[in-house]
């Protein structure tokens, strides 16, 4: 079809324009300062990988990667466990109180976290959790629960009740019916919950800056922020640091990206 072909050309052109910032990022990270000032837009010629080695050590990315990974993975496990259990109750309960509780959770999507920012800091500090992984995990689990519960509840509402009922007729408890029968059916939405929360937690900047700044437990965005501040004029070096900082989450996304669209479409139908 001629029209499809034309649309394809247009969309590819849009994608190329859209990728200009990414091109700048990668090409500058492969240039030395002389090349950058002489020909900022040209392809790196010849490309140099020196920036990457220097950025890796200057930004102290090794330890930050470990911190980010620990905080993100444990928070995700907590979010998926707590969120799916709560959503199973909220999607199935048929009382005003249950509906009110659902609305109470949704309120958390709307509230700007800044409203509770300072009292929460006090609370975390009273618990002795400033500058610890536990404090960050507790924070992310709480702050991302509303969105997680929202996604799970929509999905579970669209699932027929009969699966769980059948298991219960066979003598299974609510808990067994959920963990053995319902939870495996939630795979597409769990994929979506996983990616969207991973992206948020891995990339969050402000909270770890306030809670972890100077503790030695900094996450990747905080380390990159400090690193950029220090080498602000050396764009090759700074951009190599940005590429290294963004790479882990981009790789995870590419590996799991098919779940994003699938999960969204099932969530919308719910």
């Amino acid at each position: 079809m001629r029209r499809t072909f034309l649309l394809e050309i247009v969309m590819i052109a849009v994608a190329v324009a859209f990728l200009f910032p990414v091109y700048s990022l990668v090409s500058l990270s492969l240039k030395d300062p002389g090349q950058i000032s002489r020909s900022p837009l040209a392809l790196p010629d010849p490309p140099t990988f020196d920036n990457y080695g220097s950025a890796w050590s200057a930004a102290a990315l090794g330890p930050s990667l470990v911190n980010s990974t620990v905080i993100t993975v444990v928070s995700l496990v907590a979010l998926i466990a707590l969120g799916s259990f709560a959503a199973y109750f909220l999607a199935r309960v048929q009382s005003r109180l249950g509906y009110g509780l659902y609305i109470l959770f949704l309120l958390g999507i709307v509230l700007p976290f800044q409203l509770g920012m300072i009292p929460l800091y006090e609370l975390v500090s009273d618990l002795g959790l400033i500058g610890t992984h536990t404090g960050m995990i507790l924070f992310y689990t709480g702050i991302q629960l509303p969105f997680t519960v929202f996604l799970y509840t929509g999905f579970i509402r669209a699932l027929p009740r009969e699966y769980a009922s059948a298991a219960q007729i066979d003598g299974a408890s609510h808990l067994t019916a959920f963990t053995r029968v319902v939870f495996p059916l939630l795979r597409p939405i769990t994929g979506t919950v996983l990616i969207l929360n991973a992206v948020f937690i891995w990339n969050d900047f402000f909270t770890p800056l306030v809670y972890l700044g100077g503790s030695g437990y900094e996450t990747v965005p905080v380390s990159v922020f400090a690193f950029v501040g220090q080498y602000v004029s050396d764009h090759g070096l700074v951009f190599a640091g940005l590429v290294l900082g963004a790479l882990p989450i981009v790789v995870v996304f590419l590996a799991l990206q098919r779940y994003v669209i699938k999960g969204f479409s099932s969530g919308l139908k719910g």
């Binding site: 109750f89 629960l145 669209a158």
Partner: protein
Amino acid sequence: MTAGRSRPAHRGARRRFSAASPPWLFAAPALAVYALVVLYPAISGVVYAFTDWSGIGQDMSFVGLANFRTLLGDEQAMGSIGNTLLLTVAIVAVQNGVGLLLALGVHARLKSRALLRVIFFSPVVVSPVMVAFLWKYIYNPDPSAGLNGLLGLHVDWLGDPSVALWSIAGMVVWQYAGYSMVIFLAGLEGVPRELHEAAMIDGAGTFQRFRYVTWPLLAPAVTINLMLSTIGGLKLFDQIFAATNGGPGYATETLSTVLYKQAFVFGKFGYSTAVALVLALFVAAVSLVQVYYLRRREVTA
């Protein structure tokens, strides 16, 4: 969202089992963490908004509405409300417009559509702070580099007070248009092909089919997209903090940057929390109005 798939009628012995809901204990752990991390601090925040707390020690007293009166007389803070609203309107309109066009484009049977979807969505997964640093370079005033070099312009994107706010909106749209696209795409995939074929047989053109078949069925996706982008726009912080920190002058100052500075630069925690409360009320009011109107449209569509 639509009413959902209709469930088959429950019959006989099954009814008792399907009506039995899981017990409260299923929601209790989530509720406990949510209350501790979100609800309790937010309620305390509302209380702090009426004090003159400086953030050090227990030394605070209630000052009634004084913080809100200060806000009304604070030219910079009032200007930031205007900036917040302008920025949000720009982001909501352009991000969703572009997102919808992209979704329509990659929904068609293109050979490259799987790759195009991944390309348009990928900026979403990169840290907003890092995207801001990248765009700070893209927006640099040097006529031979970045966007100026590409387009042959001489604009000081982030340094010119009359342009800076729109430049911020531009980088946000670049990062999140793919997010809107994915949600619209999910909506488009729920539109039955038979409806399009029937409309085509009736002689409807491409635009008419979009207007009378696709658009009404996209209503749930429109609701979610408008809500998420509005809330995101009103709360926007990281990008501004890293790219302009509210400048030049106060050109990109928003409620988020003002409340940050009042707390962490000037130590006025009570006042900062009052600004946060105003922001929360804005977000709540806009969301409520949107839910009300958009939901009604979904029902009648």
